[in-house]
Amino acid sequence: MNNILPLTKPVTKNLLGIAPEILLKWYDEMLLIRRFEEKCAQLYGMGKIGGFCHLYNGQEAIAAGSIGAITPDDYVITAYRDHGLAISKGVDPRRILAELLGKHTGTTKGKGGSMHLFDREKNFLGGHAIVGGHIPIGTGAAFACKYRGEKRVCLCFMGDGATNIGEFHESLNLAALWKLPVIYIIENNKYGMGTSVDRASSIEALHKKAAAYNMRSAVIMDGNDVLKIYQTVKAAVDHARSSYEPSLLEVQTFRYRGHSMSDPIHGHYRTKEEVETQKKLDPLTVFAEALKDAHLAADEYFESAEARIKSIIEECVQFTESSPEPPLEELYTDVYAE
């Protein structure tokens, strides 16, 4: 299997003239996601997190770059690999961790767990665990934006595997036909569980599926390049705001961990070398180097960032550990709206 990302592509060099504080915010966000996921892995290992837990390590640049291209008013929806996107969308990481430990202070009071994070205030439409099931929902949010005459958009994230299910195709057709302001973003991490893209999709260039629906599309070959992601998503978002037209974007990326915490890191479906090679292109490392080269940050900055993030993670743990379990009465709440 030759699924290796191109080794030569550096992070977009000129940094696109983006304000330094925004770039550093993205870096911090990516670092927070990375450390958050590492903490999750540890807590899962200790048996404190249950169920299925899918980590985002390796894909952080997609969250920071894509969500960096929208405003808090815009909607985001994704599948079950949702911690990173939730963090980038501004969901309180303390409440995410509390959710993962089934605490009452969690994003859904402990009802949804890792795969079902939600935050109405932050316009984060979830965490969805049935593959492809959320794609029409994201399309529906975009429908509502247009219906109300707003200029908001919805970013609808999905895995490569999700592009093979019917709901993906029905949604794309409807979004293109009805001109809905939705940007579909395929996080192509090369595998759906143990199945590589070429064994699941008749076409490996997944963004080309847009052609069948007469939809604009783009591919980002280097999903470690946060600026390239930002730039591409921004163009699609601007287009959606001005014309209500959807886009299909494909980002080539890689997950460092197993499919979920209960799966092996490489198993038989990919090699250790493949994982190790990909890790050398780490999105955090390449971004840090670009920031250094541009003299926007020096070693001290990265050390202080580590320290800051470490204390945020500690706060998350403390908040979670001191939070109560949901009371039993919660079992019967939220089944029907008032």
Binding site: G110, V131, H268, E325
Partner: protein
């Protein structure tokens, strides 16, 4: 007698039937190269090759429908759902096509297909990944619904399912795949519609199946025995067809019935059993039929809420004491 896990028993059933009948093949997500998400198809790819052990994309409606079409024209597919929750994506195919084809086509096309995989709750998988769906499938005429609770039944019933000329919904339990039990030596099948008395008793009849039978009902029955309450425990093994005679005869003896199931109460399998028993055993009943089910809410993630919602030993004991007017 050999002792094997339910996982191995299911594997043997598929292996033997594939060896016996060229028309049988297995299709589903991760069933081939990964040996199954829960390793039920371990080794089958090596033995039968990619023509007969087929990895699919995540496309439940598509590959279920492909199975149905292939079955209509002479093949005998086994379609694995990684879990039964994902069958809901293929609900149209299973209901409108598999279940109704024979009748709708006036007998032109039968659909000999097995849909199988784990159903019900595991640990903290939350609402979308924890559903016990037997009642909705049993609702549809044309489908048979099978729910084994041990290795012997898993193997014998799956072989019967594969040989059956109708669509069969075969629901396993993720939490029981590793549980071991004796199976008969050599070739055997177990017919549909024949339940089993797991334990004879005189005071109350309990009907339960699959994981809830083994993990909850059996244990509750043991505790009740310590209190001097003698429970007759019945495993129907197949939900549809249901072994009504076995249940009626037991109730006629004990005069009391408790049904313990994992699914939700409204229109659950237990509701149907309760109706049939009140119809056929009305004069024998000494108490209204009781049911223990999951609470009527989507299953939450948090461990404390999850265990509070699902049937447990205490709830079963309470129901039994109630039909005996002991509380």
């Amino acid at each position: 007698m050999p002792v094997v896990s339910i996982r191995e028993a299911l594997n043997q059933a598929m292996d033997e039937e594939m060896a016996r009948d060229e028309r049988v093949f297995l299709m589903g997500e991760e069933v081939a190269q990964y040996n199954g998400a829960y390793k039920v198809s371990q080794g089958l790819l090596t033995k039968y090759g990619p023509k007969r052990i087929i990895d699919t994309p995540i496309a439940e409606a598509g590959f279920s429908g492909i199975g149905i079409g292939a079955a209509m024209v002479g093949l005998r597919p086994i379609v694995e759902f990684m879990t039964w929750n994902f069958s809901l994506v293929a609900f149209d195919q299973i209901v409108n096509n598999a279940a109704q084809m024979l009748s709708m086509s006036g007998g032109n096309f039968n659909v000999p297909i097995v849909f199988r995989g784990p159903g019900g709750a595991a640990h903290s998988l939350a609402a979308t990944h924890s559903q016990a769906l037997e009642s909705i499938y049993a609702h549809f005429p044309g489908l048979k619904v099978v729910m084994p609770s041990n290795s012997r039944d898993a193997k014998g019933l799956l072989k019967t399912a594969i040989r059956d000329n109708n669509p069969v919904v075969f629901i396993e339990s993720e939490m029981m795949y590793g549980e071991k039990g004796e199976i008969p030596e050599g070739e055997y099948t177990i017919p549909f519609g024949v339940g089993e008395v797991i334990k004879e008793g005189t005071d109350v009849t309990i009907v339960s199946w699959s994981r809830i039978l083994q993990h909850i009902a059996v244990k509750a029955v043991g505790r009740l025995a310590e209190e001097g309450i003698s429970v007759e425990l019945i495993d129907p093994r197949t939900i549809k067809p249901m072994d009504w005679e076995l249940i009626f005869n037991s109730v006629k003896k004990t005069n009391r019935l408790v049904i313990v199931e994992e699914g939700w109460p409204f229109a659950g399998v237990g509701a149907q059993i309760s109706h049939e028993v009140s119809n056929h055993c009305f004069d024998y009943l000494d108490a209204p039929v009781e049911r223990v089910t999951q609470e009527d809410v989507p299953l939450p993630y948090a461990h404390n809420l999850e265990i509070a919602s699902l049937p447990n030993i205490q709830k079963v004991i309470r129901a039994v004491r109630k039909v005996m007017y002991l509380d």
